[in-house]
């Protein structure tokens, strides 16, 4: 009787609200009553009655609280209630979500930047055992080919070779495409340990004598059909050997990573395994020049170190190892993983640390917002408990709301992450992204989710502790004052976020002041000076350099718009260390540590705008006799006394030379703007300057002329077409490039300082606004009995001001102590510089005052009657 469709329907509907052992008795009661009614009214009447009873039952249970429903219904109801609670106070919900999004977005962006260098492993097997080996020409005597190193199985588990990139031109989609191909051994990818599917086919073609090329994904796309696997294309290139066809092999995957910038290209071509490491050429002058044509990519045997490799392979005496293999001597090995990530790991860790600090500020902010939200919801939650909601129901309701806010915060945070990454991609120097531009990957999304959960939990705990709800106690309360523990929790959160913000602010102030000091100093030349470097490709005939240099200067002076031009032997600004030992320089027999002698045209200082400190500048008659020294040289040689009149001596090409010091000029920065300039003695160019592998011409012009660079290059080649013109540019740009690291670090620290103080300010607005809302009636009463605006302002801002002051005090002490770790980044100021601390404190006071001003102003503008109506 109770197996019909109607009974089954009723059983299902009741089953949504009740467990089976409750449904069965109800159906049994209905069945028994129905059976009695059938006897009295007949089937039809009983059926009508039963339908009415069933519908009534279902409607009654549908109106019941969610606790009686299934899990899905419960979740749906909880989400609806949570959404309603968030809509009741949209400002608080939006504030929480915004703070969350900002904090999560920033720290996730820093994770995206730091992940490739700090946490994510390189895509090579055992990347820590990969090394690049550079071999001096003299070291290759016993092992002139790659095979000679491959047999050293005591050191290497595998050895491959790679050369310099060859530039080829092929026909692409419509227009010719220039490709850079890197010659590599056929075992290159096995040694590298990169997971590349198309290797066996490539090796087979290479070993069969063909010249297959592996193209990168981007190069293949640029070539179009000509770059498809299996195509044969004709190329012309710099070398005659390439003026033939080669077979396009399989395309490398888009994710392929080059192990270094020197091994980066558009594709790979095979290198014979018996290729020689050294190439010998003969110059037109009859000189034999050897240069290393190949470098090695090697995988170390387990337990073998780089020092062991260098010691075993080099013939240079111990303790005489140059920075690079020089003059044919020395073997240097460089870890691939260290080269790719080691340099940037500290920066990545610092960025991640700064992001986590901002997240701490956000967590404290969220905690304060949750405390405020708890105040408004106490009565609601107590009422729910009185109506039958259990602790689990209330907890589930609150957690659902927390979860919705977290989801919104994480979603917004990923948007902030994408924006920050897009911004930093434009500002970050490319050499900070050797592993590619960071993006919002799955790892970053996962990190953002984890950060959201941690922040919300951290924000929830103080609120949960402070707002323990007991319905009976709440309804017995006669006072509406906040519990003491709530006020203490809010004070602690506000102080904590202010502390962290001030620490970041102190760091930002120190970095910014250092940066300003750096930019303000005199580099020794006017910043819009144009400098161009010229390299001699082939050895010059002895004595040819000076006439060439002077002729070039004369031509440059005659260019339109040029007011002055001069020459310097060597480079004006270097960003790399020298690989050779400079000759020692002496003044009155005492060695000047680190001193260098540089040959310059007599018009050099006037052209460069170098400031004269003492004595006079060089004149044409000073050739071979006089020298002008830099200020640091004068300090190093003469210990505070005048350097004028002293004798500087040095040895050049085994010839002793000397000159009398006639002037002291400002230091000329020759490495980077933040590095101590080399103590230098400047002597006029003379007939003893027979040749130079590098020459610098400096030009001063009336205004910025885009065509100047072209004109200068044209004049240089007019004198000697064989020289290579490189590295030309305005000194201002060169100087800024020399401090790119520092500029980037300053920008990031300042950005984080601003972000932290901004989030703190948002938190303060929330705290003061909460105080105003909570004490509106009190404010109204005070105003009604005569309190002035200042009194009201003091009343609402007192709590925030005290907490901020406590946090600022701790933050300044902590910031001063931690600033010692930044000493290497500072310039011209000491750690815990008092003025920086004062500026940080001053900025904080300003921000706190502004943050408190808006809600305080709202309180002041309330009329007493309006305020009383609000409550």
């Amino acid at each position: 009787m109770t197996r019909g469709a109607g009974w089954r329907w009723l059983e299902r509907r009741l089953g949504r609200h009740l467990p089976p052992d409750r449904v069965a008795p109800i159906l049994g009661d209905l069945a028994a009553d129905h059976a009695r009614l059938v006897a009295r009214r007949g089937r039809l009447g009983a059926g009508v009655w039963l339908t009415g009873e069933a519908l009534s039952l279902v409607m009654t249970y549908r109106r019941q609280p969610p606790g009686r429903r299934g899990p899905v219904d419960r979740i749906r109801t909880d989400v609806r209630h949570a959404w309603r609670a968030m809509r009741v106070r949209p400002a608080a919900s939006l504030g929480t979500t915004t703070v969350l999004a900002f904090g999560i977005g920033l720290v996730s962006a820093m994770f995206a930047l730091a992940d490739p260098y700090v946490t994510r492993p390189l895509p090579f097997v055992d990347a820590d055992r990969l090394v690049t080996v550079s071999v001096g020409t003299r070291e290759t005597t016993d092992a002139p080919t790659v095979e000679g190193y491959r047999v050293r199985t005591d050191l290497f588990a595998g050895v491959a070779a790679f050369g310099s990139t060859e530039t080829v031109t092929v026909a692409g989609r419509g227009a010719a495409v220039t490709l850079r191909l890197l010659p590599v051994s056929t075992v290159y990818f096995e040694v590298l340990g990169a997971a590349i599917p198309p290797l066996p086919e490539w090796r087979r073609l290479a070993e069969s004598g063909e010249t297959p090329v592996l193209l990168t994904h981007d190069a293949s796309r640029r070539l179009g059909d000509a770059g498809r696997p299996g195509a044969t294309i004709r190329v012309t290139g710099d070398t005659a050997a390439l003026a033939r066809g080669f077979r396009v092999g399989p395309t490398l995957p888009a994710s392929f990573l080059f192990p270094s910038s020197s091994q980066s290209a558009d594709g790979f071509m095979p290198l014979p395994d018996r290729a020689a490491l050294v190439e010998v050429t003969r110059t037109p002058g009859g000189l034999t020049v050897a240069h290393v044509a190949l470098q090695l990519l090697a995988r170390l045997q387990p337990g073998v170190t780089i020092a062991q490799v260098e010691g075993a392979l080099t013939t240079a005496p111990p303790g005489d190892m140059p920075i690079r293999p020089s003059r044919g001597v020395g073997v240097r090995a460089y870890g691939v993983a260290e080269s790719m990530t080691g340099r940037l790991r500290p920066l990545g860790l610092a960025a991640l640390g700064a992001g986590l600090l901002v997240l701490v500020v956000c967590a404290a902010n969220v905690a304060n917002l949750q405390l405020a939200r708890g105040a408004y919801r106490r009565r609601e939650l107590a009422t729910r408990e009185a109506l039958g909601a259990t602790a689990g129901d209330l907890g589930r309701l609150v957690m659902t709301e927390i979860g919705l806010l977290t989801l919104a915060g994480v979603a917004g945070g990923l948007g902030v992450t994408a924006a920050v990454l897009a911004l930093t991609a434009g500002l970050t120097p490319p050499r900070y992204m050797p592993l590619g531009a960071p993006s919002v990957s799955l790892r970053v999304i996962g990190f953002a989710g984890l950060a959201g959960v941690v922040v919300m939990c951290a924000g929830l705990l103080p609120a949960a502790a402070a707002w323990r709800v007991r319905a009976s106690a709440l309804f017995n309360e006669t006072s509406t004052a906040e519990p003491r523990r709530v006020r203490a929790a809010r004070f602690a959160m506000t102080a904590a976020q202010t502390t962290v913000a001030v620490v970041l602010l102190v760091g930002a102030m120190l970095m910014t002041r250092s940066y300003v000091n750096l930019l303000a100093q005199d580099p020794g030349y006017v910043r819009d000076l144009y400098a161009v470097g010229v390299a001699s490709r082939q050895s010059q005939p002895p004595g040819a350099w000076r006439p060439e240099a002077e002729a070039t200067v004369e031509r440059l002076r005659r260019l339109p718009g040029v007011s002055a031009a001069a020459v310097m032997k060597g480079t004006l600004v270097e960003n790399i260390g020298f690989g050779f030992a400079a000759p020692a320089v002496y003044v009155d027999g005492q060695r000047v540590r680190g001193g260098l002698v540089k040959s310059v045209g007599t018009a050099f200082f006037q052209t460069a705008g170098t400031r004269l400190h003492e004595g006079r500048l060089l004149q044409p008659a000073d050739e071979g006799q006089a020298a002008v020294v830099s200020a640091s040289f004068a300090r190093a040689c003469c210990e505070g006394r005048s350097a004028i009149g002293r004798q500087v001596t040095w040895t050049e090409r085994s010839v002793d030379r000397s000159a009398r010091i006639v002037g002291v000029v400002n230091d000329v920065f020759d490495t980077a703007l933040d590095r101590t300039p080399t103590p230098s003695a400047f002597v006029p160019i003379s007939d003893r300057d027979l040749s130079a592998s590098w020459t610098t011409y400096v030009v001063r012009s009336a205004g910025a002329d885009p065509a100047l660079a072209t004109a200068i290059e044209r004049e240089i080649h007019a004198v000697n077409p064989r020289v290579a013109v490189a590295d030309g540019g305005i000194m201002r740009d060169r100087l800024m490039r020399s401090i790119q690291d520092r500029s980037f670090a300053t920008l990031m620290v300042t950005f984080f300082g601003a972000a932290a103080i901004g989030v703190s300010a948002a938190g303060l607005v929330g705290v003061v606004g909460f105080v105003v809302a909570r004490r509106t009636r009190e404010i109204a009463i005070r105003m009604a009995i005569g309190a002035g605006r200042a009194d009201v302002r003091r009343l609402v801002t007192r709590e925030a001001a005290r907490a901020s002051a406590a946090g600022a005090g701790i933050g300044l002490l902590l910031g001063a102590w931690l600033s010692r770790t930044m000493e290497s980044f500072l310039y011209g100021i000491a750690p815990a510089d008092p003025w920086s601390l004062v500026l940080a404190a001053g900025l904080l006071v300003l921000v706190v005052a502004l943050a408190a001003w808006v809600p305080a102003r709202r309180a002041i503008r309330l009329s007493p009657s309006e305020a009383l109506r609000i409550e």
Partner: protein, 113 residues
């Protein structure tokens, strides 16, 4: 007053109906509803009976057990209720309150039957 606060009117009625029926071990949903309708003279919805019984059980004022399956109930058991000691105290307290409130109102309210 007790931990659970004052009882509603319908809750007292249901408890008293259970007290009436539990002596015969017949305090189940339909019987309780029938008892209330007979004594009060008003119709009571089935759903409100079951919901109130469940609520009273959650408050600890009633206990229930499942009886044996019966053929005339399509093989489904009865759910038999009993009033607990706290339930008895709650009923007595509520009735005593009404009695105290009623004292002195006889001239106004007259005979309550």
């Amino acid at each position: 007053m007790g931990v659970h606060g004052p009882l509603g009117e319908f809750e007292i009625v249901v408890l008293m109906a259970v007290l009436h029926r539990q002596a015969e071990d017949e305090a189940f949903g339909s019987a309780i509803r029938e008892d209330i309708e007979q004594r009060s003279g008003r119709r009571v919805s089935r759903g409100s009976i079951y919901i109130t019984l469940d609520r009273l059980e959650e408050k600890g004022l009633l206990t229930s057990r499942l009886g044996d399956p019966e053929p005339r109930r399509a093989g489904r058991p009865k759910r038999l209720f009993r009033v607990t000691a706290p339930g008895r105290r709650a009923v007595k307290h509520s009735l005593a309150l009404l009695t105290r409130m009623h004292a002195g109102l006889e001239p106004i309210l007259g005979d309550l039957r």
